[in-house]
Subunit: 426 residues, 2 copies
């Protein structure tokens, strides 16, 4: 870890800069595949599955038999773990339900808003070295809670045309309607346009590599909503002398093992603490199966030593970390002051892993500083807010003139007239 001591504020923006991604190169590939799938549907999907996943699939839809088999493969212990995680995710996301806000803004003018489920959603679950079935829970549980009618899941098959059992099991458990063996750009394009087999969705959720990221951005051009833009995962640990060196080192490494481009930061007011953490990180690193990956991420990561809590808070808000662990004596100060972060873990018994899997909060969170403007996935991500209003004669009378004056001042006579024609009769 590179250590920076008391950097000047003017240097913060530069120090905290994320590595730039070169999305331009990818864009033309994505464009090409999108056009092909918009035009040739299922045939084009088969072609890209053969090219990118190395398997010829006659039917990309996962069968009931495959799901039943998967159910037999997952161990009883893991099933129980998944069930406990699901329960907590349900409990927490249900707590985000809002009650009716029906209100009379003036006598006779009743306004309210209601959140109604997005009817068709698509979930993308990456394949690759590890089956990220926890993301299935994070996306399908809240979708089911709000009542999304159609939940489609796309995930790439391996070279034998199979999907990891854990993903199939979690999907079935959470009420996903249909699972397709489609990965990468072609999956996002299929959900964007629809094909003979796959129905178009209204919103696409889920993480992915650079290709998936650019494909999701491309989908928005065609009016499809996405959960949020994505980037490499991040953790910022804020600790002072009261922190536990072993725990902090383990937390930093849990982030570092995600990928060599993972962003790991330690911000601390204590130089000696940071030195101890660095030693401990090297020690724990040796025993990790994903050592090679974590080592690279750690080499690129930063320790920043600041003078005061205020400075630490400002620096965190400037960075806007996806995950933030607070391991200080003054956690309440930081809880109150945090403006930009995805998810905050408080105290020594709240490792990021808890929220990644099972405490109940969502792990689909804004990276790359997007926490300055974007929320992590939450219950509202699966609904739209529709407003309603009903005016009585009295209500319309009381704001009629206001509407007339404003419409006229905006040069919109027909807007005015829609009120005047009613007022005449009142």
């Amino acid at each position: 870890m590179k250590t920076i001591v008391n950097p000047a504020r003017s240097e913060w923006a530069n120090i905290l800069k994320r590595p730039t991604q070169t999305l331009q190169d990818i864009e033309s590939t994505v464009n090409e595949i999108f056009e092909d799938i918009a035009r040739h549907g299922d045939d084009a999907i088969k072609k890209y599955t053969a090219i990118f996943d190395g398997v010829q699939l006659e039917d990309c839809k996962v069968t009931e038999t495959e799901i039943a088999l998967a159910e037999q493969t997952v161990s009883k212990d893991l099933k129980q773990a998944i069930q406990q995680a699901k329960n907590n995710i349900e409990t927490f996301h249900a707590s985000q339900k809002t009650v009716s806000n029906k209100i009379e803004t003036m006598p006779g003018i009743v306004c309210w808003s209601e959140k109604r489920a997005i009817e068709r959603i698509g979930l993308y679950i990456p394949g690759g070295s590890a089956p990220l079935f926890s993301t299935v829970l994070m996306l399908a549980v809240p979708a089911k809670l709000v009542g999304c009618k159609s939940i489609v899941l796309c995930t790439p098959p391996n070279s034998k045309g199979q999907i990891a059992s854990e993903i199939l099991y979690a999907a079935k458990l959470c009420g996903v309607n249909t699972i397709y063996k489609i990965g990468g750009i072609q999956a996002i394009a299929a959900m964007t346009f629809g094909t003979q087999t796959i129905q178009k969705v209204y919103k696409i959720f889920g993480p992915g590599n650079q290709f998936v990221t650019v494909a999701k951005q491309m989908a928005t051009k065609f009016g499809i909503a996405i959960d949020m833009p994505a980037g490499p995962s991040e953790l910022l640990v804020l600790a002072d002398d009261s922190g536990n060196v072993e725990y902090v080192a383990a937390d930093l490494l849990s982030q570092a093992e995600h990928g060599s481009d993972s962003q790991v930061l330690l911000v601390t007011t204590s130089k000696s603490f940071s030195e101890n953490v660095q030693v401990e990180v090297q020690k724990q690193l040796q025993e990790l199966p994903r050592k090679a990956i974590a080592e690279k991420a750690i080499a690129n990561s930063l320790t920043i030593i600041v003078k005061t809590n205020q400075e630490a808070l400002d620096l965190i808000n400037e960075y806007g970390p996806e995950h933030l662990i607070l391991a200080t004596q003054d956690n309440p100060y930081f809880i109150a002051g945090i403006q930009n972060a995805g998810s905050v873990f408080i105290g020594k018994y709240s490792p990021e892993s808890a929220g990644d899997y099972a405490s109940g909060t969502n792990h689909t969170l804004p990276t790359n500083g997007y926490s300055k403007a974007f929320s992590g996935v939450n219950l509202d991500s699966f609904t739209k807010n529709i407003t309603f209003q009903e005016l009585t004669r009295e209500g319309l009378k009381s704001i009629g003139q206001t509407v007339e004056l404003m419409a006229e001042a905006e040069g919109l006579q027909a807007h005015k007239n829609a009120v005047s024609i009613r007022l005449k009769e009142l």
Copy 2:
């Protein structure tokens, strides 16, 4: 208005198709201006203001003197109207505040979420023939309510380098910090990248023409959030024999005057009612100052006659109108069943104009069928949802094994280790 009687469901998608926009042609222009402004900042802005707005501006920032002058220009009546609208918008948007959802998902695992204001936002207000000051209220009032620190407003100057007094007055009244005389693509680029004069924002709100729409889409590529994608404004009126012919005609025309590309639909179970409306529309049309525009929109608009309420409801949900007026005997049936709409106006005394200006609801709404996945602007549009969690020893003990099992199954040993290292000591 073209009338379609009892169309088959298989034809709906085709009938309800919005006119396609040709955004591809615009994209290269937008790209070019974005690159220029990212590189040359204020100088480039000056150049484009001269080209597109026909005026050389030394300083694009509106001065205190200009604002003070504007305040003197706006009539007392209009000021009162604006104040009343502002009060209602404040009341309604304040009703959308959510309370804390702090919850123990399991003993010792406390999770909650908090909405914190987006610190820097940018508002775009179009210029052109009419000064759309009502949009200033719709965007600045909720931004101020949640506590956005910096609210910047960009709007194009006229050829004399001036901004409409109503816009300046409304902006001042609502607490907008800084107003710039910058329009179109260059305004969106300035707020995306920042320049020597203009600070970069985190989220951009507001309507605009095709150029602004494409520029906002482009801004998302650079990590800037936007309120929603945009398209021509729309109204769908649903009426049966109980509807008032004059009112419905006036409502349709209020939408039609927005632009020749405005989308106007009448859906009804009554053929005779629709015929009466068509006659009345032609009558009222003659007296409108914006007759030429409204006439074109009406010529492109549709009357669809359906057999049953159920069919009407399904058709509306397939279309997903921005504005929906319910003028039937069975309004509660439709209120309960509407899944896709931006804002719903119920009964004969609730014209769309009421919500456009003064009832309290927001008028920045999803067009082009985006209501299937997007909300209109609301209080949450100006905040991010941050999650927090704090586990006790007991809490971590109770889910520790679940996390370990799931992390291991995903092949993420360091994630497991962050829990194991703590459990060892508990």
